[in-house]
């Protein structure tokens, strides 16, 4: 404590301390190498995808991965559960469908408008419900999603009711986006962007603030983190991402039903986040891939698929409680030592 006796500076720098500090900074290689690998894999994938069906599976994985990453920012990093996120996805999808079909808007304009509307809705909602904690927040978000589904089902003159409505192709810069092979690069690029942006975010001061408020809200507040504002902004961010993905998915599929906004879909998204690994971006990518593939893989089990799906969920949460990617990464690290 000898340095303390020479005021007024608190804390002395030394080359050793500086080196030790910088060694803890997230390294360029550890952060960007996996992204480059991802980009290369996604770019190479078309050479081995035999036909449009596999493109379709790939696109579903990509879209779900983007959704899961955005939701993970809210659930995994920020610690705020949402059991109604498909509601925003559905609003985006139907926003685009309705504006292009009934109002003759161009698809990009409709997408932007729906995203903006969802942003405003999410902001208003967040201001009100993010004061709630734990299961009360779960209930509120769940209710929100269900209300969206009910409205989409009932307003049949706009939405086509429970049987759904078709959505036209999207034109972007004079290019008509249609077919799996055209959409694949769009979603692939989006995922790479999502991974890079999310990785940057969680390592930034804003990301640190999010994680800190998850760990201890009161500690975060006394160092000046406006927790209410952060929660709101992340909620809005993940809602807008969901809306944009909803719009794109609607154009890609060409047909949507209110089930895109259902409780089931919300739970599926949360499951991707949790099974893949909370507060892990790669976990979300992995969780999305796994849970998007499972229904296809289990399609032939004739009735037992629900049981198997449930067993996988329960077993993962019991044996790999932090989710697959973080738990396995930890195991590998321990083995390596």
């Amino acid at each position: 404590m000898s340095e303390a006796s020479t005021p007024p500076t608190i804390g002395r720098s030394s080359p050793e301390i500086t080196a030790a500090a910088l060694a803890t900074a997230p390294g360029f290689r550890s952060r960007h190498l996996p992204v480059i690998v991802l980009a290369v894999v996604l770019a190479a994938l078309p050479t081995v995808l035999p036909n449009a069906y596999y493109y379709d599976v790939a696109i579903r994985i990509l879209a779900n991965a983007v959704l899961a990453i955005a939701l993970n920012l809210l659930i995994g990093y920020c610690g705020q559960i949402s059991l109604g996120h498909a509601g925003f996805f559905g609003l985006g999808a139907y926003g685009s469908a309705i504006l292009t079909t009934h109002r003759d808007w161009t698809a990009p304009m409709a997408l932007l408008a729906s995203a903006a509307i969802v942003g405003v809705v999410a902001w208003v909602v967040a201001r009100v419900i993010l004061r709630l904690k734990g299961h009360y927040l779960a209930m509120a978000t769940l209710g929100l999603g269900i209300i969206v589904t009910i409205v989409l089902t009932n307003e049949a003159s706009l939405t086509g009711g429970p049987d759904g409505m078709s959505v036209g192709d999207m034109k972007l810069f004079g290019l008509r986006l249609t077919g799996e092979k055209v959409w694949y690069p769009v979603f692939a690029i989006l995922l790479v962007f999502a991974v890079v942006l999310a990785a940057n975010l969680v390592e930034s001061p804003a990301g640190r603030a999010l994680r800190a408020l998850h760990g201890s809200e009161v500690a975060a507040r006394v160092v000046g983190i406006d927790t209410a504002s952060f929660k709101t902004r992340v909620f809005v961010l993940s809602a807008v991402v969901a809306a944009v993905m909803g719009s794109l998915t609607a154009h890609y599929l060409g047909f949507i039903t209110p089930q895109v906004a259902s409780f089931h879909k919300s739970v599926e998204l949360v499951t991707m986040v949790v099974v893949g690994g909370m507060a892990s971006i790669w976990g979300s990518v992995f969780g999305a891939a796994l849970l998007s593939l499972l229904p296809d893989l289990l399609a032939r089990f004739e009735g037992f698929e629900t049981v198997i799906f449930g067993v996988i969920l329960v077993a993962t949460m019991i044996f790999l409680p932090r989710g697959m990617v973080p738990s396995l990464a930890r195991l590998v690290r321990r083995e390596g030592r």
Partner: protein, 290 residues
């Protein structure tokens, strides 16, 4: 007036079943801080097992009893195999576990008992009772009466028995309860078994009126969760009040406003209530210590 009376009867019947479901939620929430998304499946399972057994020739009272026992056992198994090993997991993870459990229960019922709907015979006939211009099924009286008995029984259990008091103590402060010698593991197990049995009772009571099928659990479970939140999670009085209130709101909305939006109204209302009272109508205030 007779229309109002009719809606009141319907609302109370439906509300009583929601109350039973909500009580199940509250009981498990109290003992473990877990919202059990499989509670609806317990209700479904109760109705299905009883229906299958009566269809195979077992007398109704025996079938009902057997169904309650079977479902309680399932509740115990669920706690032992799925909840206990994950004690320290995050809220979100435990929600996923209970959702996984509900898928397993639903899937097993689907495979073993089929996808069709089933009805249980009414306990004492189907001749409606006329009352002030409205009619009431004898089964509705069963629903309300049994709910009242269950509520009274639970009051005695929590107020008088050692185990019941232990559950309450654990709900209040797990560590302190452990220190004064409450067997927390046993409390958790009991609460799951009891909640499952409660669900089964609800399922058996409502099955003659509403019929049942392997996929009936989700909606009943969600309604129970809404009712429990209405009243304030963990509050017994709140669960009953929430359930009855929810049933009344639904039928009154369907009767006087719009049947299309009757399912949306409870969710809108639960949002409003949470905004005004973040812990429901009868929930306790926040007790965070810094």
């Amino acid at each position: 007036m007779s229309q109002f009376l009719q809606l009141l009867f319907s609302g109370l019947t439906v509300g009583a079943t929601y109350a039973l479901s909500a009580l199940g939620f509250s009981m498990i929430y109290n003992a473990s801080g877990v919202i059990n998304f499989a509670q609806g499946e317990f209700i479904m399972l109760g109705g299905m097992v009883a229906a299958v057994l009566t269809a195979s020739g077992l007398p109704l009272p025996l079938a009902v009893l057997a169904a309650i026992v079977v479902v309680a056992l399932v509740g115990l198994i669920v706690e032992k195999l799925a909840i206990e090993p994950a004690r320290d997991a995050d809220i979100t993870s435990i929600i996923i576990i209970t959702i996984g459990v509900s898928m397993i229960v639903r899937g097993v019922v689907e495979v073993t008992m089929g996808k069709g709907s089933r009805a249980l015979p009414h306990f004492s006939g189907e001749t409606p009772i006329a009352l002030g211009g409205a009619t009431l099924l004898p089964q509705s009286l069963w629903v309300m009466a049994v709910t009242a008995v269950v509520v009274a029984g639970l009051a005695v259990f929590f107020g008088r028995t050692r185990l019941g008091k232990g559950i309450l103590a654990t709900a209040h402060n797990r560590l302190a309860a452990q220190l004064v010698g409450v067997d927390v593991k046993k409390v958790l197990l009991t609460s799951f078994g009891l909640a499952a049995a409660l669900g089964a009772v609800g399922g058996v009571l409502i099955a003659p009126i509403a019929t049942t099928s392997y996929d009936a659990g989700l909606m009943l479970g969600l309604k129970g969760f809404v009712a429990a939140t209405f009243g304030g999670l963990g509050s017994g009085v709140g669960a009953i009040a929430g359930g009855v209130l929810l049933g009344l709101i639904e039928t009154m909305t369907a009767g006087y406003v719009s049947s299309s939006y009757k399912d949306a109204v409870p969710f809108v209302l639960v949002l409003v209530i949470l905004v005004v009272r973040p812990r429901g109508l009868f929930g306790l205030g926040p007790s965070e210590r810094v």
